[in-house]
């Protein structure tokens, strides 16, 4: 997990964010490294994690997280991690019309691809996974993919709302990734704004305005929505980041070693 990110956000192994929705958004870049951070973070804290991955195969997460010090294979065997392989389920449904050999969970949640095109079944499966546990984490890679596959914006907004209610009622946390370069249909509410509405934390990742640089990979903005207490204004924390094979280095803008 990325220690510096945890320090800046005020998270730690004893102070996990719960009951919240965390939105990771990016613009023209790929912020999926933050998903690995949350995976490693919650697994180290011995929480239950549900990983619904539609964008990459399980092996990708396994190998990437092994650099962060967690073994996803072992967690899956222990029962700490439930991996819903939406990628393979989507393929099986596309080719055969049904997925029989995969686990029951994956089969049901992919029913949206044939039929009413809504994410109800996916929601039901996720709800079932976190039924009797506390402090679980649900990671969904990647919400914009569903928009590309044909789910309407309205249905996606409903899904996000349902997930938010699930988080608050079941004490779990929902993390998802949103790519902002999807252009919304103006007649319906924008899914990005909807996600922002429900998210308590938003981590926005963009490239540098001045172009590509080897030392500073981009700008990371942490937006926190403080709902309790008197403080109503929380400034956005804007940082430059540099991603290495094992860690994420966060720097105040302009303090990179290449500049100073």
């Amino acid at each position: 997990m990325f220690e510096e990110l945890n320090n800046i956000a005020g998270w730690s192994l004893k102070n996990l964010p719960t009951n919240k929705m965390i939105l990771i958004s990016d613009w023209n870049t790929d912020a999926s490294f933050l998903l690995h951070h949350f995976l490693a973070f919650y697994l180290k804290a011995n929480s239950k994690v549900v990983l619904a991955h539609a964008a990459q195969s399980f092996i990708h997460y396994n190998l990437a997280c092994s650099r962060l010090g967690v073994n996803l294979e072992r967690s899956r065997n222990n029962g700490d991690l439930i991996a819903l392989n939406l990628l393979d389920a989507s393929l099986q449904q596309y080719v055969e019309g049904s997925c029989e050999n995969l686990s029951l969970d994956s089969e049901e949640c992919l029913n949206f691809l044939f039929g009413d095109n809504s994410l109800k079944h996916l929601f039901k499966v996720l709800k079932r996974c976190v039924e009797n546990t506390k402090d679980a984490l649900i990671i969904l890679d990647d919400v914009t993919l569903f928009l590309g596959l044909g789910v309407s914006q309205k249905d996606l907004n409903y899904f996000v709302h349902y997930m938010d209610v699930l988080c608050k009622s079941n004490n779990c946390t929902f993390v998802t990734l949103f790519h902002q370069n999807f252009a919304p249909n103006i007649s319906e509410p924008s899914p990005y704004l909807c996600c922002q509405l429900y998210a308590s934390y938003e981590i926005e990742v963009k490239g540098l305005e001045s172009g590509y640089s080897k030392d500073v990979h981009g700008v990371l903005t942490l937006k926190t929505k403080e709902t309790e207490g008197i403080k109503t204004y929380q400034p956005h924390k804007v940082m430059h980041y540099r991603l290495t094979d094992r860690s994420l280095q966060l720097l105040a803008p302009g303090t990179s070693s290449a500049v100073l």
């Binding site: 690995h36 190998l63 393979d88 596309y94 080719v95 914009t144 993919l145 596959l149 094979d245």
Partner: protein
């Protein structure tokens, strides 16, 4: 660290070995056992597939694109199990050439080939592959280096890393595009092609052309040497299948419905699922200039690598005099790790010579001091900064205050 580990695929075992070697732990206990306790020259469970090399950066198995300079820009080649998108230039002249190189490299490396095309018959493409030049090595089996490595014995069984720019290696060959490859060479390969004409019934209408193609591809891979699920029992040697979809998502592929982008996205998503579970390297070429920017962004998200060729058509800029176009990199593969390989520079241009196609880093012309007068420089300056509309005379000397 657990003593028994289960790997879903032999490929991951290779990657895990490389990863462990980087960490410097426990390589001894895994590899040494095979060397000391079992006397056969075991490869330690590592997969050896000809025509592939293990990446120096992240331990993935790579296959060559056929153009060594493109391989070096991509960090060694195209990773196995990934989808490579080539965004076509407007007249498809150079993208067709790159496709041919990719296929020719497959023939020379002994890989299987799969071509699915809706426009022209795939045979047209396959009959015009460039011929390998004599500098390329033949498909001989790897000479086992039986030197006793007394100190580095743990590295004995790991696959050798080879630089893709050297012409002598088994990976990365040179071709002569002015001659065609012998048909007999092409026929030696395991070749499957699919020509999507109107005669084939797709099911529920033209929109199912995508689904039909994917089903056909999946059938070819199932229970064959390209599937990764089989144990290395020795009866079917694992091989790489190069899947090429030229001119994909062109108007012939798509029906008349407005939600074509969803069909394309769905197909690419499922293609990624197929690729991750098999020993295939896909090359898809799409005429992205026909699509809206956001649709193109969506397509790029579903592939692993994306490069675009922008050919100069009627370009008079003297800075680009020797080149035929620009190569833009939109996405580089980031598989199984947090960071990806990045080339030294993103200013790349390509040039089509009489016998080959090369990609180079573009350099600005040298900045000679202002007082030296150089004819070439003056011409350049004139063209880059045209005279003012007022018709004033452009001074060659800079005004000095």
């Amino acid at each position: 660290m657990p003593t028994r580990m289960f790997f879903e695929t032999p490929l991951n075992f290779v990657q895990y070995l490389i990863h462990l070697r980087n960490w410097g732990k426990f390589v001894c206990s895994v590899v040494m056992k095979k060397v000391t306790f079992t006397k056969r020259p075991a490869k330690g469970g590592a997969v050896q597939v000809h025509g592939t090399v293990v990446s120096l950066h992240n331990g993935l198995l790579l296959v060559s694109t056929g153009i060594p300079s493109l391989d070096s820009v991509l960090g060694g080649g195209v990773p196995l199990g990934s989808v490579f998108l080539l965004e076509e230039d407007v007249h498809t002249r150079f993208s067709t050439l790159l496709t041919k190189y990719f296929l020719a490299e497959g023939v020379t490396s002994g890989h299987g080939l799969y071509v699915a095309s809706a426009n022209a018959n795939p045979d047209v493409l396959l009959n015009a592959l460039p011929k390998p030049t004599s500098m390329s090595s033949t498909r001989s089996s790897q000479q086992k280096n039986d030197n006793d490595m007394k100190i580095a014995f743990m590295y004995k069984d790991l696959p050798k890393n080879q630089s893709s720019l050297s012409g002598v290696s088994r990976y990365g060959h040179y071709y002569d595009i002015s001659c065609n490859m012998d048909k007999s060479e092409v026929e030696k390969c395991d070749l499957k092609s699919l020509h999507l004409t109107d005669e084939i019934s797709y099911g529920e209408g033209k929109n199912d052309m995508f689904r039909y193609t994917l089903k056909h591809l999946k059938q070819c891979i199932n229970n064959s040497r390209y599937e990764m699920k089989q144990k290395n029992s020795g009866d079917q040697q694992l091989n790489v299948l190069r899947v090429v979809l030229p001119h994909f998502a062109s108007p012939l592929w798509c029906g008349d419905k407005p939600d074509n982008i969803h069909n394309i996205v769905r197909f690419l998503h499922c293609l990624r699922a197929v690729a991750r579970n098999s020993m295939i390297a896909c090359l898809v070429t799409i005429p992205t200039h026909l699509y809206h920017e956001n649709e193109v962004a969506m397509i790029r998200q579903l592939v692993d690598t994306s490069i675009e060729l922008e050919a100069f058509v009627g370009e008079k800029n003297p800075v680009f005099k020797q080149y035929h176009g620009l190569l833009k990199i939109h996405k580089l593969p980031r598989l199984n790790s947090l960071v990806n390989f990045v080339p030294d520079s993103f200013d790349l241009a390509f040039e089509l010579k009489r016998t080959k196609f090369i990609i180079e880093y573009m350099h600005l012309p040298p900045d000679i001091s202002e007082t030296a007068s150089r004819q070439g420089m003056d011409e350049t300056n004139d063209k880059l900064h045209p005279r003012s509309a007022c018709g004033g005379v452009s001074l060659n000397k800079k005004l000095d205050f």
